[in-house]
Symmetry: C2
Subunit: 454 residues, 2 copies
Amino acid sequence: MPRLLIRNVSVLIVPESGDCGVDESQDIHIHDGQITAIVPTGTGPESARAEAARGADPTEVVEGTGLIAVPGLVNSHTHSPMVMMRGAAEDLSIEDWFNQRIWPMEVNLTPERVRVGGRLACAEMLLAGVTTYVDHYFHADQIAEAALEAGIRADLAPTFFSSAGPEVIEAAITTARGLRTRGPRITASLGPHATYTVSDEDLRRTADIARAEGFRLHLHAAETDDQTQSSVDRLGVTPMQVLERTGVLDAGALIAHGCGIREADLPILEQFADRTTVASCPKVYLKLAMGTVTPIKGLQSIGVRVGVGTDGAAVHNTLDVWESLRLVALTQKQREQDAEWMNVSDTLRLATRGGAAAAGLADQSGALEPGRQADIALIDLSGPHCQPVHDPRAALVYSVRSSDVVTVLVAGEVVVRDRRLTRMNLEEVLADAKDLAHTLVDLSKGGAVQHYAP
Amino acid sequence: MPRLLIRNVSVLIVPESGDCGVDESQDIHIHDGQITAIVPTGTGPESARAEAARGADPTEVVEGTGLIAVPGLVNSHTHSPMVMMRGAAEDLSIEDWFNQRIWPMEVNLTPERVRVGGRLACAEMLLAGVTTYVDHYFHADQIAEAALEAGIRADLAPTFFSSAGPEVIEAAITTARGLRTRGPRITASLGPHATYTVSDEDLRRTADIARAEGFRLHLHAAETDDQTQSSVDRLGVTPMQVLERTGVLDAGALIAHGCGIREADLPILEQFADRTTVASCPKVYLKLAMGTVTPIKGLQSIGVRVGVGTDGAAVHNTLDVWESLRLVALTQKQREQDAEWMNVSDTLRLATRGGAAAAGLADQSGALEPGRQADIALIDLSGPHCQPVHDPRAALVYSVRSSDVVTVLVAGEVVVRDRRLTRMNLEEVLADAKDLAHTLVDLSKGGAVQHYAP
């Protein structure tokens, strides 16, 4: 791969802990998809200059003047093809949202419709500076096609309910195995839907396969406290205890939402903190009036890493991680009744390092450091909604819009240049989605893929 | 003034109650700053066509194909020049935010700095589809200059504390009187800061002047329940009772925030519902961990109209009313624990008709109807974050970004065309703000304009 240089850019430094900072006037050197050096503009490294001088490799230069480079954002939990149902299930309780709209609509899923939705989702996310997404949906092989076409990084969990029967479950696991052959930007997880839609027996069997084959699991659990209470009433245990007794936590899990995780669950999770991550998607918790948000403070206190997600756009309406991280900061301050908590640095860390952990890429992505993948978004803070910039971190958390994302790299490849996708024809992606949108929301067939009764 | 025609546009219909709708393929005819007709594209009205045919008036045509026309948004409560302090007071409790940062910084205010900040604020708001803002700040004559230059509509309340002394209060009221001579886009209110910073005696005197001269008052009251409790402990009455006993409610008031309005206050407010409005700015309530949000359901039940605001950007970080209205919907659903409450239609109504009422323009703006002012924003919903559009109302509440605003009219004048200001040089506005930004956040002088101890 050619060398690439992002020249004269401000660089957001996101340390493992403590305050984020910004280094001005830096050059980011990239080779073979990795960051090789970040140095003051024009100062090196020698090797790169020497090699460039002898014309070993053409170096592509991306001009960074006036922009700030941030680690590409990670959408830690989504169902990307659900963009096709955006706006089709509004102002509904969580029960009606599932039972009257979404699960009846999902009888309409076909491989083609999933791929078309998946492409639209990739376009939306890349243009907004998301370089990795962690997906949980049906027809995941089609989602992989979309991601590969767009050039985005994706961790895909082929999703199943117990109600679909053993053959469908086996097929989902087979799909996950196949995804592992799709190149370095695609990884796979196993995707049981939730503790309330997958039996303990199926969770246990899936966890066994995960352990044996080196997968982890990505599933919904304790989405609300109502779900937790229902689990306690029905089974005598919380969803976290279900995950423990079925071996899911032992295998390693990304838990979506976890708003209903209780204090008493924390000692259980703490035993598996090295392999447990939680994705928080607060726009959904507010919109569905779920009563609370992910207990990030408690989770972080036991060493569980948390990422920021959007969930599917059929409820979140966007796949905008900037919006999500802002809502994480705002709702966490409110939850803890502490305006000093979830400060701008901690929020940015969740959406970058936290997201990378949620994607299973803790050591490879999520920060701009030599040796890491060059997953980078260049942001323009010059708009009147960001100016003046007394604190660029605050601008990124509280002012920036996705439309301020100018250029995006995944694995050192420019996939968005000057606000345009380099690999996809956006007009075609949009036209295909518009053509098929009505087929997804058709309720005339009757039936549903599942019934919500947690 | 010339005639203007917005051709072949979708039109958001916001009725007084009930569901909003969208009429496709409409022509909006505008004359003398007012909407004269909204009719299917190419169908009339006869008079306009006849006049055009005989060349009476040149008709400017704004192409609306592919866009949706919405009533220009109203920022119902802000301190616009505080954009100069954006990002300079982050992650602080409400006490520290006021006492350690903002009120010490405000000793640096000068007419020039206020004007420069006011211009930047107008630029940010207009580009985001805000056609009216309701401001509450010092040096309001300078804010009027900024609004007049930008072409935006503004209601301005020259602000005062009792601690500043009678001469300053008198000067503020004199400024308000002067604002009334600044043309049709500028109106004035009287601006005592808050029930906890202005004495009952000064509130009473201000209310008397307001009644005598036909002003209304715009002030902070019951911002948090802590403030309400403190008022009860200290004075034996709630802030709403203070407003009642001082004649403020009788004169007519726009109350900023009101998160601490209690059930028992509602019968008091109900007596003055015809002249009371409340502005809700939920991003601030979350960010400062204020514990609750405006009780909109209770206020609407007694007929008090509510608008959507941003407060100042020193805490809200943007003047983005799209962001605010989205947060109103999300936080109201959470507050009432009812996902069906504050639906997309009711939310859009708050930000348009509600905002117009909060600006004192209930009959003149806030809806696209013949006879009303042509305050209009044209929005592009074709971006991948909005598509497909199963419900344009949902797209406006939950997906749209301010960067989707293409064209903006105030009083029938195009003030933003193809995402660019027509009256101001944005680069110059930004450069001036950058030049002066450091002077606003300088804490070296010591002192403060006020102390927060509600």
